[in-house]
């Protein structure tokens, strides 16, 4: 079976491509490079900017996709969709993000960074009945950097002053490894479940440098290591020929269970290998709330797909033994329930006709989303995100393989109350390889 698996040049090419992508992107400590510290300042608060990547298809259609399923994609927005697979799929993608941050005085700074989107695998264990999903994907991201300069009177007697600069930096975030099964119980019903391991390090650093060589640089960092396990349950109901012939209407629900993360925090001084730990490490528990998702999808004539999604997470119930920016133990005033609404449309002119022209076999997508953030730096001020998404899905290599190029542009925040306004934009590329593996030979 293994020799047959490697037998074709095409398969070797696929594996080489995926291997190259995974090898480069899985470089130690940079798996989700997350652009180090070049992102939105709002990512400083709470556990960072929450992220999710269901599939490149759903990403271009507003980022929802709870009810979305397709033979061409593995959808990690709902584990129930894993029961409806025919090809082994491997997906890897990365993105380039830019953000223009503006304050109330119209001062602006621009930052860009590249990062990995996700690595996903889907394996049909039984065609369109039982399937496996496996993914390594982001949960949250902390990525910011701000700099300030000032003068300090370093010698009051001699009235000597020295220029200094402080860089406030935040890096890291949480990732999750997910593995689970989806099973089709009946023509219309598919259920799924996954185990999700959430882990990561969030680091906030403050680097103080002076213009004079008599002053040593100090790099003070708070590193919080978090780890926990949760699970996601999903259900997908698909009805055919609802409004007319050749249509499918799907309703999907998915719940990620509340869980507790174990955390330990250390305050360090110094650089990388020569850090001194200050004080004792602090341990604590962080309680994550439930995440509930509801989605609708309508597919018409194998050409048009419409989706709408809602996500709700009661972060006002967040509790933690450790403090975070925007949170002190027992005081979650700056946390609020998160609501995310999205919708999108896809047009595939060729439908299921694999012999049609290339441009007709490209899928064209558009979507939007609204996200009320779970944490705000200022009580009473909501940090809302409004964004437009879109993309192209281009066939490549073999019929089951596609390259998705997506874009996103949106705004976040406000300049009221000394806050900042983000204008963000991004582009991503995802390689989605699908092949039929493990073909059983028949003897004639």
């Amino acid at each position: 079976m293994i020799r047959r698996f490697f037998s074709t040049a095409r398969r070797r090419q696929h594996l080489l491509s995926l291997g190259l992508l995974c090898g480069l992107t899985l470089a130690p400590a940079q798996v989700f490079a997350q652009g180090r510290d070049d992102g939105s300042l709002y990512s400083r608060f709470g556990l960072g900017e929450l992220r999710a990547f269901a599939s490149p298809q759903s990403q271009a259609m507003g980022g929802g996709g709870t009810a979305l399923w397709s033979w061409n994609y593995v959808n990690f927005g709902n584990p129930a969709s894993w029961g409806r697979q025919r090809l082994v799929r491997a997906v890897a993608g990365f993105r380039l993000d830019g953000v223009e941050i503006t304050d109330a005085s119209d001062n602006t700074k621009r930052l860009t960074a590249g990062s990995l989107n996700a690595i996903q695998f889907g394996v049909p264990l039984r065609d369109d009945q039982l399937g496996l999903g496996l993914a390594f994907e982001p949960y949250s991201r902390v990525s910011y950097r701000v700099q300030t300069q000032n003068q300090l009177i370093t010698d009051p007697t001699a009235q000597d002053t020295t220029l200094y600069q402080i860089d406030f930096e935040g890096t890291g975030g949480l990732q999750q490894i997910r593995a689970g099964l989806g099973v089709r119980l009946a023509d219309i019903l598919t259920l799924g479940a996954s185990v999700d391991v959430i882990f990561g390090i969030i680091e906030e650093a403050r680097r103080t440098q002076f213009a004079s060589v008599e002053f040593a640089e100090t790099n003070l960092a708070t590193s919080t290591r978090l780890f926990g396990v949760t699970g996601t349950l999903g259900a997908l109901v698909t009805l055919s020929n609802v409004a007319g012939q050749n249509d499918n209407f799907s309703l999907g629900v998915s719940f990620t269970l509340p869980t507790s993360l174990n955390g330990d925090r250390a305050l360090t001084l110094g650089e990388s290998l020569s850090r001194d730990t200050l004080g004792a490490e602090i341990e604590g528990t962080i309680d994550l709330p439930l995440s509930a998702r509801l989605g609708l999808a309508y597919e018409l004539d194998n050409r048009w797909t419409f989706v709408a999604d809602a996500r709700y997470e009661p972060w006002s119930q967040f509790e933690s033994d450790l403090s975070f920016p925007g949170y002190t133990p027992g005081d979650a005033r700056l946390f609020r329930d998160r609501l995310r609404l999205s919708a999108g449309v896809e047009w595939l002119p060729a439908g299921v006709n694999l012999l049609d022209s290339y441009l007709k076999r490209v899928a064209y997508r558009l979507g939007f989303y609204y996200d009320q953030a779970y944490v705000s730096p200022v009580e009473g001020i909501d940090i809302n995100t409004l964004a437009l998404t879109g993309g192209l899905s281009m066939p490549a290599f073999t019929p089951g393989t596609r390259l998705d190029i997506n874009f996103e542009v949106g705004t976040r925040g406000t300049t009221d109350q000394n806050l900042v306004h983000d204008l963000f934009y991004g582009m991503s590329a995802t390689l989605n390889i699908g092949e039929r593996w493990f073909i059983k030979r028949k003897l004639r």
Partner: protein, 374 residues
């Protein structure tokens, strides 16, 4: 298919795009409550005390000899010990003369009164390494006396013919180093202490055909003070050679685990009072001080050096000083107390008056630039 061949390189290329950044201070209000502004704390050393000390005066490039009566600081008597090293050889019978050639490079005291020193033999082998100012060596017979002006830079002393005849064989012997133990220069009549440069002084052996210069191989200065100094109030005396120096401590309460960007220690010197001397009386000032940490085992480690600056102060600043204090904030036990020392290689009896903590403007100070975590 051609276009798909470029997919992987394109994707890899996108991945290698690095972050472009322009951090600036936009949004600084969103992070400022995290603290971090550096602050300067000025501490006053506590428990400042004069510390008696016998400086190392052996195996250093200068030897002291003479006696000075300082109206402020008492009487200081110095005896210099020199040994020489044989180079090459001549016949003993060819020796016509032996001269002690001394180059003066230091003076403390009355610059007009002539100085008379006695050259005496040393009778036993001695070791200069690490020897301190209170060391005395057994003296042998007097060889000669010589008189010179304290400001003379070159002093030559012809040793008596009788001594040369009695020692000519020794002077040329291969066992010179084992048999001959050098000379002591003892004050007979003096109003000053002078210093002779080790590297330019030697014992000159003269023949009719040749001249051999035996360089100095060992030096030691025995220095003692008699009588108590009379110091104005509000000052500490520090003096090279006989001491005293200063020891002190600093209270770093409340600075546990605090990041330290810089540490300076400053002592202000009373250069006016110390230079109030009788006419023609020279009282050299200490140019360089060392700040050392003294461990519980009494070991001394230099952390920084400072020279007297234009503001009349010694300002100590060094990465070692910063690191010692930083580790102290982290709970390390690296010292028992601090002290000021004069580099022993100078070998002088120079002095300085340092202000104590009673005056706000000239009190010693420890300046710490800190970046507290909150």
């Amino acid at each position: 298919m051609t276009r798909t061949r470029f997919l992987v390189p394109i994707l890899v290329g996108l991945l290698t795009l690095t972050a472009c950044d322009d951090p600036s201070n936009v949004g600084i209000e969103l992070v400022e409550e995290g603290g971090g502004e550096p602050v300067v704390r000025v501490l006053t050393p506590s428990m400042i005390e004069e510390e008696p000390i016998n400086d190392i005066t052996g195996a250093v490039p200068r030897v002291l000899a003479g006696q000075v009566n300082d109206p402020m600081l008492g009487t200081i008597t110095a005896t210099g010990y020199l040994d020489f090293q044989r180079v090459d050889s001549v016949n003993a019978s060819d020796i016509t003369g032996v001269m002690l050639r001394l180059v003066r490079d230091y003076v403390y005291g009355d610059t007009l009164a002539a100085l008379t020193l006695t050259v005496r033999e040393l009778t036993e082998e001695w070791n200069a390494l690490g020897a301190r100012a209170d060391t005395t060596l057994p003296l042998g017979a007097s060889v000669t006396t010589f008189t010179f002006e304290p400001l003379d830079s070159l002093i030559t002393v012809d040793l008596p013919e009788t001594w040369v005849r009695d020692n000519d064989t020794t002077l040329v012997s291969f066992h010179f180093g084992e048999v001959f133990h050098g000379f002591a220069l003892e004050a007979t009549a003096a109003e000053a202490v002078v210093g002779f440069d080790f590297n330019q002084s030697f014992l000159r052996i003269t023949t009719e055909q040749d001249t051999l210069d035996y360089p100095v191989s060992l030096t030691l200065s025995g220095v003692i003070r008699t009588g108590q100094p009379t110091i104005p109030e509000g000052r500490f005396l520090i003096q090279d050679g006989t001491g005293p120096t200063l020891s002190f401590n600093v209270d770093f309460d409340g600075l546990d685990d605090t990041p330290l960007n810089a540490a300076f220690v400053r002592f202000f010197a009373d250069t006016l009072t110390i230079q109030e001397t009788p006419p023609n009386f020279v009282r050299p000032l200490i140019e360089t001080l060392q700040l050392v940490r003294i461990t519980e085992e009494d070991a001394a480690f230099v952390m920084a050096e400072a020279s007297l600056d234009d503001n009349g102060s010694y300002r100590f600043s060094d990465a070692t000083l910063r690191e010692v204090l930083q580790q102290t904030f982290f709970g390390q036990d690296l010292y028992d107390h601090f002290a000021l020392r004069i580099p022993f290689t100078d070998n002088t009896i120079s002095v300085m008056l340092l202000f104590d903590a009673t005056s706000d403007e000239t009190a010693p100070e420890v300046l710490l630039t800190l970046s507290p975590s909150s």
